[in-house]
Amino acid sequence: MARGRPRFIIGFLAAPVALYLVFVIGPYGQAFYIAMTNWRGLSASPTWVGFDNFTRLLDDQVFWTAVGHHLILLLALPLITLTLALFFAFLLNVGGGGRTGGIRGSTFYKVVLFLPQVLAVAVVGVLFQAVYRPDGSGVLNGLLSVVGVDPVGWLTEPDLALWAIVAVMVWQAVGFYVVLFSAGMAAIPKELHESAELDGCGRVRMFFLITLPLLWDTVQVAWVYLGIAAFDGFAIVAVLSVDRGGPDGATTVLPLEIWRTAFSFSKFGYASAMGVALFFLTITFAALALRVTRRERVEF
């Protein structure tokens, strides 16, 4: 019965595995190699410098500033996004109380919330350029001027700029997680919510005692996704921030520094070393997050 079966499976797997090796693992391997050289991106034969680039990273102020920003993003982005997404998803699915749960017009809200997700990141960037424009003709500042507040430099105040960037990332991500959590909530048997309601459980308690625990697996996956997204931010920062990463480096992120180091400073070796560092940061985070949030699965 099993004759030919392995060959059949291998036949199907070979192509995707080969593609994966060539286009994903291959470039990773190359980056590790280039990180050990002083390649300037132009010659065909880079010189081997061992771990020089990595020791250099240790004293690189800009690198650590960027890492610091990733730590902020790593805390803020999942926390804010997940809170908002859970809140909206709960309202849309359970919050209405009673039989089917969702508040009125929930389908409409779902569409509205999901909309930012279908926009390309560059489009979002350009959109928020208009929103954050620092003079009176910006969308936000225009609204503020109606109530008599002076224009705010959303992206030009060093203390505010990173948070303005975080807000854009949250705005863009939240819709996807609303839909993800909605699907998760739909999988929770209705009886559980109904019986809780019969027992006189309020919505807040119901959320924390029933919905959230039963949704934990999904939340955990979402946390890892958002954490990985927190190590990116390149496009939004490149389009929105003052002089790419400013003011005074207040919004810079590693992918942007990698890009600048490679294409502007012509230091591809050093840029690759930053890339390798970023790779390990991301992997470490994912491993930690999955381990820490591991819990026993609830069967229903």
């Binding site: 002083n38 300037r40 991106g41 132009l42 010659s43 065909a44 250099r56 954050y132 424009r133 620092p134 003079d135 224009p151 430099g153 959303w154 992206l155 030009t156 060093p158 003052v242 002089d243 400013g246 003011p247 005074d248 480096g249 600048r260 294409f263 502007s264 400073f265 012509s266 230091k267 050093y270």
Partner: protein, 484 residues
Amino acid sequence: MSGINRPNPLLTNDLSRRGLLRGFGAAALLAVPGTALLSGCATSGGGATPSTASAGVAGPGNPFGVAAEAPLEVVIFKGGLGDEYATAVHEPLYQARYPKAKIKHVATQQIAQTLQPRFAGGDVPDVIANSGTDLMDNAALQAEGQLLDLSALFDAPAIDNPTTKVRDSLVPGTVESGLISGKPFVLNYVYTAYGLWYDSALFAKYGWTAPKTFDEFKAVCDKIKAAGLVAFAYPGKNAPYYQYWMILISAAKAGGNQVLVDIDNLADGAWTKPAVKQAAAAWAEIGAKYMDKSYEGLTHTEVQTQQNQGKIAFFPSGSWLENEQKEQTPASFAYAVTPTPSLPGDKMPFAAIRAAAGEGYIVTAKGRNTAGGLEYLRLMLSREGARGFTQKSGSVTVVRGAADGLPLSPGNKSVAAAQTAAANDIVTYNSFEGWYKELETELRTQTNALMFGRISADEFCSKMQAKADSTKADSSIPKQSRTS
């Protein structure tokens, strides 16, 4: 657009000499009509024909030995100058000489992203207009042996007057501005003047005059502010370099051009000299008093449009500005340039201006048709090529007298007047912008911090000195130097 100034020391407007040369050119043409194409001139060919490239026979009229049927690839940065000057002027000129050659034209705004992989892979174009925000690092290219030494070009017979060399038909300082490690690798083609740009019609209407000193500058700015305009602004979001040029020009006027030479050479204490501090402090005061904080978050397009709308009086930039804004400028608007105002005790007079050859063109050393590349540049430097460039792009080239008789725009007229007034008092270019991008990036950041009031002039100088010192100490960065 253009961020690149590489440029020129002694630019003179020596009319008699120019007239004389033109006379020679005419005489030569009369004597041997049309023979430059065939076999007219007597000077020997340069014969710089690398073995990798397809070669023709060098000879009179074909100094580099261009193979008639060899294809030529030209990559043009399509920014404020457009690319019509290449497709409608220079490429047809080349085609006319070598009808069998197939010319491939590539226009891009992202030179580095387009060409980086090709350099790494060895498949390079022949001629590159290496300009724009994303230009490639010429020094790095040269260090990797990717650039062709242009000595042969500058020593070749000029198209219009084959008895003279190409270098003699150019504005003085052009060749020097493209030196890397002592040899010319870059042809800086466009003649550019830097200063404060304003609308002379608007100024006439209000009775304002361009200031000669910083005190006058502040006085006129107060009047402008009272009239409800923003007196001065630069685009902090994407072009802080417009502003650091002004600071560096003021520093050069205060302490002489040696200040800029020392900065380029990463000399100890170059940034903490009194001249630099004085210039930084003077400009920081202008920023604090007359510029709104919102300009740090606006792009050059947004700020330049505001100036066209009559909302901003002074804008720091270079002479490409007028052409870049052509579409948005109302008919009543007349661009004019004025040199940066003087500080007390300046070593250079008020009329001193930064005028320089900019917009670098390079020929690749490992291209397939290096001789064709040199020939293409030689045609660009012909009178016909240069005039056509001025007509299509609105900018004047480094070819002396090529634009004579062409109707000039108000901005170009103003540049010509400023040149005449400056005579030999020319503020030099800065090479560190191309040599040390790390230092340049830091200068952008610190310029914004200074101009928008986050740091003092002293902090500005010490931070820049610290970055210059670390650049100097970084063994992974190839070092350059210049003497004048």
